[in-house]
């Protein structure tokens, strides 16, 4: 490959304009997930982050030294201020979800979310980490270019037409690449361990009491099923990390990934983790396909309404 063709590919991949619908939908799901995370955490805000939390601020700063984006180390150390920070995060996440002052709120949500995680890194799971990383790149994307109050205001003021214009997708690509990294690194970490290669890993995973959620069928614990399960997980994680970039495989892999995460959601208790990861799948769906799908849903919904009305009148 020549340097010139590499540049051309790079430009094509990161800068060829495309529909901003995927990243706008991702913004809505992302905002909703941040709200859900804060809501699930709400009864224990002060237990985990308050003045008398499980981990004190001095311990957190000692264990995780260095300069960091952490508003907790800047605000006065009182429970009222700490709760206030959570309410600000919640308010900003709500505004981000509806797409009002989208850019500003994407920055506020990222800074607050990062601060919350930096304050107590010992209770965060991979899903939280992914939200933090995706939030960073979301700041730079045209997240308010569709399905947002910002856009409605722009249209009302005559600053924008009803047609959604194509935009440069480089921020979206970074979130997609981050998801690919996640799967690929998980795969590479797992193949370093004998239980995954021997196919016995899931035996241990599914006998950990702390993760148990719903009852699983007896056949699932048969050694052959566990082996197939362990190896399938490896194959799928590799595919979602690498082969997802091959257009012909993409939708099949997304469907398999969806089933994989729904199975994990059913069988393991790691609240929101699967949804945090699945949220970024929408970025892999072609903007035109999404647009067509949304139009057909809209047609379906509006198509039903007159029928319903005429039936009820009759």
């Amino acid at each position: 490959m020549s340097l010139r063709s590499f540049f051309k590919l790079w430009n094509e991949f990161f800068f060829r304009e495309q529909s901003p619908i995927p990243i706008a939908l991702f913004r809505i799901i992302y905002g909703a997930l941040v709200i859900a995370m804060l809501a699930l955490l709400q009864p224990d805000w002060l237990d985990w982050y308050g003045v008398h939390a499980w981990v004190g601020l001095p311990t957190a700063l000692k264990l995780e030294p260095g300069s960091r984006v952490n508003l907790f180390s800047m605000i006065p150390q009182s429970d009222a201020w700490i709760e206030g920070l959570f309410w600000v995060t919640l308010g900003s996440a709500t505004l981000l979800t509806v797409g009002l002052f989208t850019r500003v709120n994407s920055i506020i949500v990222f800074v607050c979310l990062t601060s919350i995680q930096q304050r107590n890194l010992y209770i965060t799971h991979g899903g939280d980490t992914f939200l933090r990383l995706a939030g960073f790149f979301l700041i730079f994307g045209p997240a308010g270019a569709a399905f947002s109050v910002d856009r409605l205001i722009r249209i009302r003021r005559g600053n924008e037409f009803r047609t959604i214009h194509a935009r440069s997708p480089w921020a979206q690509r970074m979130i997609q690449l981050q998801l690919s990294f996640l799967y690929l690194v998980t795969f590479l970490q797992k193949i370093k361990g004998a239980p995954w290669l021997q196919g016995t890993a899931l035996f241990y995973v599914y006998h950990l009491d702390e993760f148990r959620r719903f009852a699983l069928p007896a056949w699932f614990f048969h050694p052959t099923a566990l082996k197939l399960g362990s190896w399938s997980a490896l194959a799928l994680e590799f595919s979602l990390g690498v082969l997802i970039w091959v257009k012909e495989f993409r939708y099949v892999l997304l469907a398999l990934g969806l089933l994989f995460h729904l199975w994990l959601e059913y069988s393991l208790n790691i609240p929101l983790f699967q949804w945090d990861i699945l949220s970024a799948y929408i970025l892999f769906i072609d903007g035109d396909d999404l647009s067509d799908y949304l139009s057909s849903v809209r047609r379906g919904v509006f198509g039903l309404l007159p029928t319903f009305r005429s039936n009820s009148c009759a």
């Binding site: 990161f14 800068f15 008398h52 935009r167 990294f181 370093k192 890993a201 035996f203 614990f221």
Partner: protein, 209 residues
């Protein structure tokens, strides 16, 4: 409006005019605009390239002398911006034992009680949704690399179990372990719980304030 959007977006690694090598002058204002666009494009491309390389070096588990070098270079920025990451759930080896934490509390009047840290397997489904953070924190308490966390946890337990008349004087944090051992036929029978002392902590009056 459309023109403004285009200027935002024409920031590729090599602009079209570079490819055809036929840049022509269209007046000073256009030149200035084109210059700003190129500068913006350069900055975005640098941003993308840097982050891709840095993220790869940070988390891809490949043995190469370049990886730690690169990781050390980007560490201050990654820690500051919150871009650090690790993707090693159940990897390389899943946890091989069920565990839970208990605290033996000894009060000033000499009485004692056993306090059990929240256990996910004893919670109802909705409770599990809200209390999952306790599972993650328990894992970190027991990992053996974060001793400072144990002292903070002991202080928190002492605070929440003390009364002004009868404060907790000593907290003994104990880990209970039951190894997961597959039988020869692939079945599983829980092993007996074995206790391990994690920390003995003498509570100071200031810990209870």
């Amino acid at each position: 409006m459309r023109g403004q959007q285009s200027s935002d977006e024409q920031v590729g690694l090599l602009a079209e005019e570079d490819l055809c090598l036929c840049v022509q002058s269209h007046g000073t204002a256009k030149k200035r605009g084109s210059h700003a666009r190129r500068l913006k494009g350069f900055a975005i491309n640098l941003f993308i390239g840097f982050h891709l390389v840095a993220i790869a070096c940070w988390c891809v588990p490949i043995d190469s002398p370049l990886i730690p070098l690169c990781k050390n270079l980007v560490r201050p920025y990654f820690l500051w911006a919150g871009l650090f990451q690790s993707w090693d759930m159940f990897a390389p080896v899943p946890k091989g034992a069920n565990t839970y934490i208990e605290a033996i509390l000894i009060y000033r009047d000499g009485s004692g009680k056993t306090w059990t840290y929240p256990r996910m397997e004893q919670m109802r489904l909705t409770e599990k949704l809200f209390k999952e953070r306790y599972r993650k924190f328990a894992d970190n308490l027991q990992c053996g690399e974060l001793d400072e966390l144990l002292a903070d946890a002991a202080r928190h337990i002492a605070r929440s179990n003390s009364s002004p008349a009868n404060p907790v004087k000593t907290v003994i944090l104990t880990q209970k372990v039951s190894f997961i051992v597959p039988r020869s036929d692939g079945s599983y029978v829980p092993e007996p719980w074995q206790p391990h002392i994690l920390l003995g902590y003498g509570v100071q009056p200031e810990d209870l304030r």
